[in-house]
């Protein structure tokens, strides 16, 4: 199924045949084409080139056009500090430097780098009609912090009216951005509001809920999907985030995924996350990346879950780690093998097979993911069933599905590492490849001769 359809299904909370995956490539896509963050984030052509490289190597179902939470702030007069190896940082807060809210105007879509990201969105839309394109906008609370600095925390308490005015303004900016992204072809508008992780649910309901709900309604009415991203430990706010009626929420590794899953699904909101950005994806190896992805996928499940890194990928994240995740996402057999090997590592209880063997018969065990859903498994089971026909009751065979705990225990007890595998009288004979019927027959004959 095409990525866009898969993402839509996940966001509609329908069961999916494969968990969709959205790598949050920001400046990392620039690194993939040998550019600095500054070169990458200042040119529409480079954005398109970098995102295309990420699409080519990471085989995603959806992808952000630009992960840069400074675009709106820049257009509103915040000074940016640019760097080679990171997205820019906001280094001035206009409302602390003499400007008032009345001085601020919702920027034209031509201001700063806004038209550049919209141009990149249009080009990517044209080139990838079947991929979910994410347009990222700065959430109103984070934008308010860019404009006012940390004074906003005090203002919330001391001057609620003024804080509401600022949130009103930031909401108008967010709607302008969302509208432009949707018009340029984005399927999903991701409202990224990491600073809300710092406030309590009561303050969230007072100063964030009405505004984010309005933005989510706006996105829905425009026919697009909304996703609410919060990086940081926002555990206390997951419930109130869901109540703003986004189609999806996305969180990072600070919050346990099962906790988020249970709250999101209870609120009929899909959810995404939360592969570990630094310890695993940036500093770990392919094996660690695969295992982390699998853990997320097993917790997330096939209803309403989108696999993604916790937040914007670090620029220097090794490409091979993300390629490993992409391979795993698209390969159910690999997932099964990894799951079984983890079970082995967990010291699962091995089976006592003394009564499993037979003095007169050859016992064949076929370890599969599940022959009804995994094609190679099905062919291998078919091949064995045909090969044993001519041996009558001299041979017995059984399929062990590692989707079940017993299958995992059998796999570990027999020392099997790959799926599917044929084992005869406890000895591993055929791995992964479906053998010709005659080869299976020959092996059975060998084992019979030992009886």
């Amino acid at each position: 199924m095409k990525g866009l359809e898969l993402i839509k299904k996940a966001m509609r909370l329908e069961d999916v045949e494969r968990i969709p995956w959205v790598p949050f490539v920001g400046a990392h896509a620039g690194a993939m084409i040998g550019m600095t963050a500054t070169e990458f984030l200042k040119s529409s052509d480079n954005l398109v080139k970098g995102v295309n490289k990420a699409i080519e190597l990471y085989n995603p179902d959806g992808i952000p056009v630009a992960f840069d939470l400074q675009i709106e702030a820049e257009a509103l007069g915040c000074k940016l500090g640019w760097a080679d190896d990171n997205p820019p940082a906001v280094i001035s807060h206009p409302l602390k430097e003499g400007k008032t809210i009345q001085d601020l105007k919702v920027p034209c879509a031509c201001a700063g780098r806004i038209s550049m990201v919209m141009d990149a969105t249009r080009k990517l839309r044209e080139q990838h009609p079947d991929l979910a394109l994410y347009g990222l906008i700065t959430g109103p609370f984070t934008l308010a912090l860019h404009l006012l600095g940390t004074d906003i925390f005090m203002n919330m308490m001391m001057d609620p009216d003024e804080t509401h005015k600022l949130m009103r303004f930031c909401t108008d900016v967010a709607k302008m951005m969302a509208g432009n992204y949707i018009e340029s072809g984005a399927d999903v508008v991701a409202l990224v509001d990491p600073m809300t992780s710092q406030i309590d649910p009561g303050s969230f309901e007072m100063f964030v809920t009405p505004y984010v709900t309005e933005i989510n309604d706006f996105i829905r009415e425009a026919g697009a999907l909304s996703s609410f991203f919060v990086c940081g430990n926002a555990k206390q706010n997951i419930e109130v985030m869901c109540k703003t009626k986004p189609d999806n929420i996305s969180i990072d590794e600070n919050i346990p995924l099962d906790f988020v899953r249970d709250i999101a699904l209870a609120n009929n909101v899909s959810f995404g996350g939360n592969m570990q950005l630094t310890v695993v994806l940036l500093m770990g190896d392919e094996e660690a990346a695969r295992r982390d992805a699998l853990t997320c996928m097993d917790i997330g499940g096939k209803r309403g879950f989108i696999l993604a890194p916790g937040c914007d990928l670090a620029m220097a994240t090794p490409v091979k780690n993300l390629v490993a995740v992409a391979e795993l996402v698209h390969d159910e057999i690999l997932q099964g093998e990894l799951r079984a090997s983890e079970a082995t590592a967990m010291n699962i209880e091995l089976l006592d097979l003394n009564n499993h063997w037979d003095k007169t018969k050859v016992v064949i065990d076929i370890i599969t993911l599940d022959s009804s859903s995994c094609a190679p498994c099905q062919y291998m089971v078919d091949a064995v069933s045909r090969a044993v026909e001519s041996f009558g009751d001299k041979v017995v065979y059984k399929e062990h599905r590692i989707k079940e705990m017993h299958g995992v225990q059998m796999m570990a007890t027999l020392g099997v590492k790959n799926i599917p595998t044929i084992v005869m009288d406890g000895s591993i004979e055929f791995i992964s490849q479906i053998p010709p019927i005659n080869d299976i027959k020959a092996k059975i004959t060998e084992h019979l001769a030992k009886k």
Partner: protein
């Protein structure tokens, strides 16, 4: 008198700065930390008693509530501001003794990193807990940290980083500080940093939140 101490600790706990402050709504039109501190001192209370029996008790309660996720940054900042309002009366009285401040905390975002929000939050909360804070700003080199530490013997250093790419600088700076004087205590924090990294670079403490820094400083000065 006892009742006033209790009121003062409530003002700190709930972030009531002064009578005109609209926050918290349930204490509207009541005296705040400002007025009550003055009343206590006018009534003959010692500055040390005001600190120990009122302010510190309130701040400790806030600390526990923050740790237990009952209150968050905005509420703790209000408590810190209420503490400030009281301290403005106490500071002159403490001028000659060391009780006025519990210690000195020097904070900065490491070289190459321009992000100031996390650092500012930590600075505000530490200050609100009765420490003197020297804020070196953002993009701070090792030499600047060392110079400030030398000028303030016994001060604890706090290094902040938001970016994965500046974690390397955090490591270099920590090592430079420790090479200069292994006795200087260094604590670190920021989105990409964790306990494992703290151990790896030889820093003394990783704190996931501002309250952790306060507790570390309290433990150091105890």
């Amino acid at each position: 008198m006892e009742e006033l101490y209790k009121k003062l600790s409530d003002c700190i706990e709930f972030g009531k700065i002064n009578k005109v402050s609209p926050y918290p709504p349930q204490m509207k039109d009541q005296d705040g930390a400002d007025e009550i501190t003055k009343q206590l001192l006018d009534g003959g209370a010692s500055a040390d008693d005001v600190l120990q029996k009122g302010l510190i008790i309130g701040m400790e309660k806030v600390g526990i509530k923050f740790r237990e996720n009952q209150v968050f940054v905005p509420q703790v900042l209000m408590s810190a501001k209420a503490m400030d309002a009281a301290m403005k009366y106490l500071k002159p009285l403490f001028a000659a003794s060391a009780t006025a401040r519990k210690g000195i905390f020097i904070i900065g975002t490491v070289e190459g990193d321009l992000h100031d929000i996390g650092k500012n939050l930590v600075a505000m909360m530490v200050e609100g807990n009765g420490y003197e804070v020297i804020d070196l700003g953002t993009d701070v080199k090792a030499e600047k940290f060392i110079e400030a530490a030398d000028q303030n013997p016994g001060a604890v250093l706090g290094l902040s980083a938001l970016l994965t790419t500046t974690m390397g600088n955090m490591e270099q700076i920590t090592k430079a500080i420790k090479a200069h004087n292994a006795n200087i205590k260094v604590c670190i924090g920021g989105a990409p940093v964790n306990e494992e990294f703290c151990v790896k670079i030889g820093a003394d403490k990783y704190n996931p939140d501002p309250q952790g820094v306060v507790e570390f400083l309290n433990a150091m000065s105890a």
